[in-house]
């Protein structure tokens, strides 16, 4: 890979510039509607996390849960779609979440990002919250993206 392409790759494929954003700007997006058990099973296979609590209903009920529930990482991955759809591909420098509530089959999730800081070098900090159809947060977190100035 040439030095030039490496330099451009360091900015990924941004959809906007840091100067297009301001502190307080936000975006929200429905990232899954009526979450299906099929999608949970697809995620189990694709991620390698085959904990039966996520797809084996008798196992989940024996453990004291009303039904299976989604992998936290599925919810984080869905939340990541807000970031990449908004900011672009390969622009994230960090992405962290706390899993605060379980996500069940049938849930509809809305991810929201709010700009909390913009550095002169184009680094943008986003505060994240993803909520279910009852408005309850399921994950909260933050991300930093490197955008062109």
């Amino acid at each position: 890979m040439s030095a030039a392409s490496r330099t451009s790759a360091s900015f990924g494929n941004p959809k906007l510039r840091a100067s297009d954003l301001q502190v307080g700007a936000s975006r929200e997006q429905v990232v899954v509607e009526n979450l299906s058990r099929t999608q949970i099973v697809m995620y189990a296979g694709a991620s390698g996390d085959l904990n039966p609590i996520h797809y084996d209903e008798p196992f989940a009920q024996a453990a004291g849960y009303p039904s299976v529930f989604a992998h936290g990482m599925l919810t984080m991955g869905l939340t990541g779609r807000l970031l990449t759809d908004w900011l672009g591909d390969g622009v994230l420098r960090s992405f962290g979440v706390r899993f605060v509530r379980q996500v069940w089959p049938g849930d509809t999730l809305t991810a929201k990002g709010t700009v909390t800081a913009i550095e002169p070098d184009g680094r943008v900090t986003i505060e994240l919250v993803t909520t279910n159809q009852r408005g309850e947060p399921v994950v909260t977190g933050d991300a930093v993206a490197q955008l062109p100035v």
């Binding site: 990924g12 899954v32 189990a44 390698g48 085959l50 599925l74 990449t84 420098r93 379980q102």
Partner: protein, 170 residues
Amino acid sequence: MAEFEFEFPVDRTAILNFAAALGETNPIYWDERYAQSTPLGGVIAPPTFAVACALWNPWHGLRGVRQIPAPPPATTGSPESAAPRERRSEGGGGTARLLHGEQRFEYHQPLRAEMHLTVTIRPGRTWEKEGKRGGRLRFSETITELRDERGELVVTATSVGIITEKAVEQ
């Protein structure tokens, strides 16, 4: 758990499956011609894809009926010898009380299709606290580093696992 290491060859099918499971429609994850037309120059993986290294982790505890890659014969100090048998086989009592509390990724360069990564997993901090919904909680941090063929970092992932006394109250 001691520190351990394994290879993670990243192929386009693995990225396609992972992106599909997220309901993605973004062509950067599967359309090579489109991806080559962008400054990234090729297919990359979604931001949380690093966790799929579990598929190549011979000691991964949540593998269903998967027999490959088989864990090496147990040796003193290996992660295998430290894990209770039921945690390694399908299901088992251990997994029902295991929750994922936090996850963080630091990105050092794009994670690209056809990278041949080396994964290092090591334990981080551990602590306990009294929880409101799940009884006494044990927290443990796991740090996963993915490096490229030149040994340069691609992604650092930090996960916090929680072992609860009972099912978390809804």
